[in-house]
Symmetry: C3
Subunit: 142 residues, 3 copies
């Protein structure tokens, strides 16, 4: 697929914190569903009790799932919200740092458990970002 | 504490660069205090002469401080501004990369010395993000 | 140079995805040039087929170029757009994660090849961020 861009309007802005013990991905998606947020940028400053993330095997076209049960600081985070199967879907990548400062990272998965998470959501208005299967990559992209 | 979100209005936006040799955390907080910025998102593209960061021991409820006197690129950064003890407080996590590209990261501390830092601050209006002691985590959260 | 900040207005917002096989830096710059975007914040969620990045030798005042031909997830990304030689210039730093979750990072270079990249651009209006040679660091800064 070729490069495509959509111009959006500035939507609503939200700041929040997630409950300790909640699922980082599900809790953000739940809040977006509740508020009707279907396109947004998301950032998180926080720490987790368990990190679940993945690497996409570009040739084999499948995610290799990774997990670390150690406690980690979230040392980097980029995320967006779009629609997948008619529901708000969080696509985020993160870097996690351990007690020695060593880092691992990848595509953020469900199962990542919040210790503390300060979340900011910047909605994009006037656009419809809908995830569909992409032949070229095997991914579900907008 | 349960998940809580606040809706904000779009506030002011600022772009700046920090003086070489300044303290990354203090310089951003100083500017926010000067401008009366009490809630914001902050991102930084830059490099440091010394990286000071920390890992929060979730069981022991104390920060383990880490430091690297090497020069580093800032390879990831997520940050927010809120009020702590009535002053703008920067809560940021960062990833630092060394000459071989190897990365470390964690909770950004005072003492991190700027080589070059391009900073963008997006204020959130209409919200009051005040840090208070949180029993469950031992942290000071909004 | 001392710390300097400019206040900006909220500009346009764009969400897009880049063609598989395109150059991550060039494709974003090309779109900014096409749209007349000269000051902006940029974030990317995605993966690359090849990562090209650099570490700035602060004493020697030159970039040491690094490259990894492995496929990587982009696990952290901070970026801004400003004017350099009258053209939109992307200054971004990124963290890349491999199949084991291991991360490397630095100053993003041309040559980084997109596998999939979801890009969000938040324009800053009313400011002119122009890159000029900075004596103190040897860098081209705004």
């Amino acid at each position: 697929m070729s490069t495509r861009f959509w111009e959006a309007t500035a939507g609503r802005a939200f700041a929040g914190r997630l409950a300790t013990g909640s699922d980082l991905v599900e809790e953000i998606e739940r809040y977006c569903a509740e508020q009707g947020i279907t396109a947004a940028q998301v950032t998180v400053v926080g720490a987790v009790r368990r990190a679940c993330y993945a690497y996409y095997e570009q040739h084999d076209r499948r995610y290799r799932e990774l997990e670390s049960r150690e406690h980690h600081e979230i040392a980097g985070f980029v995320g967006n919200v779009s629609l997948r199967d008619d529901r708000p879907f969080l696509h985020a990548h993160a870097t996690f740092a351990d007690a020695a400062g060593a880092t691992v990272g990848g595509h953020l998965l469900r199962g990542t458990e919040v210790f503390a998470a300060e979340v900011m959501i910047r909605e994009l208005g006037g656009v419809s970002l809908v995830r569909l299967h992409d032949e070229e990559t095997g991914l579900t992209l907008w």
